[in-house]
Symmetry: C2
Subunit: 165 residues, 2 copies
DNA sequence: TATTGTTATACTCTATAACTATA
DNA sequence: TATAGTTATAGAGTATAACAATA
């Protein structure tokens, strides 16, 4: 972050358009960077609420999927089941979520949102939405709709639950 | 990956549209997931060439930025300078890149692409492009252009070098 | 016998602190 | 005195293996 001579900020000379590089200017790389940046931004916003982004995702899945097991949660999150244990532990300690034995299969823990959890989730959604709006500020409402639709089309084959349930 | 009854694949009942959730269906989350998925896909494609995605990025920056120092590389990659050491080490051992003392400031190591590095970079670009094409298959050429342009607009404020140099 | 959830352990990745050399 | 690069070390995050309860 110094202002010395040979740093990143400077000349804009040296070579034309890094953005023209087949990798650095590619849609894929931009997508990757965008994803990482949005992730960090949301993560930071969640910190103010004492949550991680993963916590928010757990609250979200729990809110939408009735009787969701930890197993299923692990699949949805794309996370090892052993990590889900700790995740749910943390949320349960704070009464945002509780484990309920599935009566039909008592091996399963259903992860269900508490009232407190629902309340905090509302706040978290608000914060996350604000971050997103700020992030997408350069785009018009119409453009955002187009962007979401395209991302949807691209991701649907990879996230089957986007279409089905 | 079992085919039991209560798993992810099944009913498509239980609740309408996970995609309507304010978080799980948001542009930001789709962006995040898309970025991660593309990243994994490229990472895997690079493995066949004995490279990591980071390796490819180093080769790319080295190809485009003349006299790039490790410091600058670390800023561009958004990576700690201590990590860059190992990265460059690995590439230098395989003669894909070499360190040259900057004559104007002999503290600086300029990371410069070798012929071998340029060759492998070409192959890597080919592979990465193929992955990307496959990834964006659901979109028309025109849509891809629009997508790239929108990502560009969104990322420009955060990656200053996208516009300048 | 197979599966869910759990714990304990090992491994990988990343960041921190301290050092050398240049400026 | 400050900066580029390096090394060694500690920490965080993740995966692996083994176990208990249930099916």
């Amino acid at each position: 972050m110094t202002s010395d001579s040979g740093s990143v900020e400077p000349g804009a000379d040296r070579l034309g358009a890094l953005a023209d590089d087949a990798v650095l200017g590619s849609t894929g790389y931009l997508l990757l960077k965008a994803g990482v940046h949005v992730g960090h931004a949301i993560e930071q916003a969640m910190r103010d609420l004492g949550l991680s982004m993963r916590d928010l995702l757990v609250l979200s899945f729990a809110a939408v999927l009735e009787g969701m097991s930890q197993q299923e949660l692990s699949e949805r999150l794309g996370l090892d089941p052993t990590l889900v244990v700790g995740l749910v532990d943390g949320l349960e300690e704070r009464d945002l979520v509780r484990r309920e034995k599935d009566p039909d299969d008592r091996r399963r823990n259903m992860v269900v949102l508490t009232e407190e959890g629902a309340r905090l989730r509302s706040q978290a959604i608000e914060a996350a939405t604000a971050v997103q709006d700020d992030y997408l500020a350069p785009l018009s409402d119409q453009q955002r709709t187009v962007l979401r639709s395209m991302l949807f089309d691209v991701m649907s084959p990879r996230l089957p639950w986007l279409r089905s349930s």
